[in-house]
């Protein structure tokens, strides 16, 4: 069993101890999986992260805080032996100490985690499917994903909480992850939007008409929107 992350109930909420080795991104990914696996069990919980000597920068902490927030979990405090990490935590206005008593009190029992439920049924995710060209002046809003089989012409607008997939040329304005989901993507057979947004990021198409159109996927990576081959 992977013990790189342990969760423990304490007076202040939940103490999450992350082993000092291993890649931070892998570990946060695992933490999120753990939380997601428990359904809404952790919703509203206040979390203290115990990180040992690991050195983290401010944006790394900010990211994990954001991911937790999206699941209704509040990052309260960070415990660390690294000055750099403590510094980063303070800049984010996180607490960096706990009263010893708080740690001691409920130390006794580690939280028993339910295994993630296995459900053979798939209910899919909500979405809109448009089987025609979206012309100038049309706007589509969706709480889920939007799939267009056809072109999205300049002057057309799509705003989706989820992903946007265009089986055609995308030349209009699109906003994926409009509710703040930075993992949302925009895919098109020919990605040439007037403007493309994912969550809070925004970009415009590079002006290289010479480039041969190819299927591309736009996603948020390294703090900006990047386009990669869509395959």
């Amino acid at each position: 069993m992977d013990d790189s992350i342990t969760l423990k109930g304490i007076k202040e909420g939940l103490l999450v101890t992350v082993k000092p080795d291993g890649r931070w991104s892998d570990l946060t990914g695992r933490l999120i999986t753990l939380i997601d696996g428990q359904g809404s069990f952790f919703r509203g919980a206040q979390v203290t992260l115990s990180l040992g000597p690991r050195e983290l920068r401010r944006h790394e902490l900010a990211n994990v805080r954001k991911q937790l927030e999206e699941r209704g979990v509040i990052l309260k405090a960070v415990l660390s032996d690294s000055d750099a990490t403590l510094d980063a935590a303070r800049k984010l206005e996180l607490r960096t100490t706990l009263h010893v008593t708080e740690l001691v009190e409920e130390q006794s029992e580690a939280l028993e985690l339910r295994p993630p439920p296995i459900d053979p049924e798939e209910y899919g995710s909500p979405g809109v499917m448009v089987k025609r060209t979206l012309r100038n002046g049309r706007t589509i809003h969706s709480d889920g994903h939007v799939v267009v089989v056809g072109d999205v012409n300049a002057g057309a607008v799509i705003v989706a909480e989820g992903d946007i997939i265009v089986w055609g040329r995308l030349r209009g304005i699109v906003h994926a992850g409009a509710g703040g989901d930075e993992s949302a993507v925009v895919c098109a057979l020919h990605l040439a939007p007037t403007q493309l947004r994912i969550a809070g990021y925004i970009t415009i198409s590079p002006d290289d008409k010479q480039r041969k159109p190819r299927p591309e996927k736009a996603l948020v990576r390294n703090g900006r929107i990047e386009a990669v081959a869509w395959e």
Binding site: G137, R138, G155, R169
Partner: protein, 270 residues
């Protein structure tokens, strides 16, 4: 039954709707069709001027709708061709004097006696456009090979689609300049079709003879003049009647337009 009602529209102003309507009407009449054109641009009428019939107007569209005259009384016969009539717009009223229902009723009154009813739509997407669209069996979208005109055409095609009547729509690209297209300074026919994905009915070159003829009130297609634009418009008229005038390979392929225009120029010199 009877006439096909074809509305000529564009979204953007000044792209050549009125010019195309007048010239197509004459060309269709010259093919032996019974044609009536309706100027739906109330308040800014000028189909009558382009057709050279302005001085014969007594009654207009609004007089008919408001019952001041019979439909026949308002229709002006163009004596230069066998069967061509104009129902002029009112100059002094605004577009709200006529409703979409009025236009449908009017078209229905005329259907039995004609082969084609051409409606010249005003620019824009408001009331006047709605009036022009209401009775349409078909729509011809006119655009220029310029981004703003193509944008507006796209908007209009979307609005026509949104009518939900599945109105067949085709595209005429007007004022194409082969030199500019070749230099990459103007959108090519393919560029426009890429964006609009609408069947192409024809391409009319930019031609100063058009301006000369509009000033004279004598549509280019009247006297079988051999100018590039009149040839192109006559081809479009024949396509409207169902004749197979090649367009596909010639104009869609890269450089096709140039070859085709070159051919037209050659013919015009012969």
């Amino acid at each position: 039954m009877g006439a096909r009602v074809i509305t000529i529209t564009s979204g953007k102003g000044g792209v050549g709707k009125t010019t195309a309507t007048a010239n197509l009407a004459v060309a269709l009449a010259n093919l032996g069709k019974k044609v009536v054109c309706i100027d739906a641009d109330i308040g800014l009428r000028n189909l009558d001027v382009v057709m050279g019939l302005e001085n014969r107007i007594v009654y207009d569209l609004v007089d008919v709708v408001e019952g001041r005259c019979k439909l026949r009384q308002a229709m002006i016969k163009d004596k230069r061709v066998p069967d061509l009539y104009l129902l002029p717009a009112a100059q002094t009223r605004d577009k709200t004097a006529v409703s979409p229902q009025d236009m449908i009723a009017l078209a229905n009154q005329l259907r039995g006696d004609y082969d084609y009813i051409l409606i010249d739509s005003p620019a824009g997407i408001e009331w006047g456009f709605r009036n022009a669209l209401a009775p349409a069996d078909e729509v011809i979208i006119i655009t220029n090979p310029e981004a703003p005109a193509v944008r507006d055409a796209d908007r209009i095609i979307g609005l026509v689609e949104a009518e939900g009547r599945k109105i067949p729509t085709s595209l005429v690209i007007n004022r194409a300049k082969p030199d500019m297209i070749r230099r990459g300074d103007m959108l090519s026919v393919n560029d426009v079709l890429d964006i609009l994905s609408t069947p192409l009915l024809g391409v009319i070159p930019d031609d100063e003879q058009i301006i000369v003829s509009s000033n004279r009130g004598s549509p280019l297609t009247l006297d079988n003049q051999k100018s590039p634009a009149s040839e192109a418009i006559r081809d479009i008229a024949r396509r409207i009647t169902g004749a197979k005038v090649p367009i596909g390979e010639l104009e869609r392929k890269k450089g096709g337009l140039f070859r085709r225009l070159a051919r037209l120029f050659r013919r015009s010199r012969a």
